[in-house]
Symmetry: C2
Subunit: 158 residues, 2 copies
Amino acid sequence: MADNQRMRISAKADYAVRAALELASVSDDASLKAEAIAAAQGIPHKFLEGILGDLRRGGLVVSQRGGKGGYRLARPADTIAIADVIRVADGPLVSVRGVRPPELSYVGPAESLLPLWIAVRANVRKILGEVTLADVATAELPDEVQDLAEDPEAWTNP
Amino acid sequence: MADNQRMRISAKADYAVRAALELASVSDDASLKAEAIAAAQGIPHKFLEGILGDLRRGGLVVSQRGGKGGYRLARPADTIAIADVIRVADGPLVSVRGVRPPELSYVGPAESLLPLWIAVRANVRKILGEVTLADVATAELPDEVQDLAEDPEAWTNP
DNA sequence: ATGTTTCCCTAGTAAATCGATAGGAAAACT
DNA sequence: AGTTTTCCTATCGATTTACTAGGGAAACAT
């Protein structure tokens, strides 16, 4: 026991963000074909098609069919947060036992668990909600995020 | 699509923390039976037994069989972090696509994703690693966590 | 000793989720 | 027409999740 992983970013969310970053890295009116994104990021092509469909239905990208078709971002890359992409591809950022924190109810000594989960969620949101596709694509993360990532202890395993 | 949840606390992790909190709420040398914890927190009894076994193998609780048996914490409640309990019951706190962040490799405009995941992980660790069973059981969360949880916006859904 | 209580261990299981793949229909362009 | 590319539905095997079942092994009481 104790070898699976909680609080994980799924392959789907990871792929979605990477696809969006490819789109963010080309000039504004240009578009990329699914196949090109798949090749650039090493993502299974048909799987990626489904993900791009989610992003389109979520209003983050627009698509065009045919010979010079493809996908492009629906808004400027500096107005799309990483959290937006993850939520559209994969649902709520944080949940406990399948439900979002505000729906939980705890009794006895566990009563303060709810504010704790809320705090964790707020903290995750704070990062993923303020970092945009443009930030990551240009490798210019906000200072506070940079600082967190530069702490060597953050890279050690447990 | 887009209705499952990423970065979720599993039922098992949630139950494990709640069970540990029940143990934290009784006097130091007293012990609780699995059945009593199950009843107090509304956790399926046999399922909880397995979880308590994990906590024991992880060195967080000690057990005693027989008539006046039960479980108690192996260390004082203010020396056990919530992160300890989750990791013992459920494995690493944060992972991306099944692997821990330092093992990932990204190319092109996705290169800065790695420091971003690291920053998220560091942030989650910071909270769950500093809040102890004693803090939650006595409803006295550290100030910074309290502050995060008090922001009304933290309670709104997306 | 005997019986009761409680933890401990292994196995199983139904349902959901994950990470894909397959096959083709519907647009857009040449 | 013919080509390209998106779009849609369906399926799939493997794993994980959240449990349940059944009994063995200590500890204690009588």
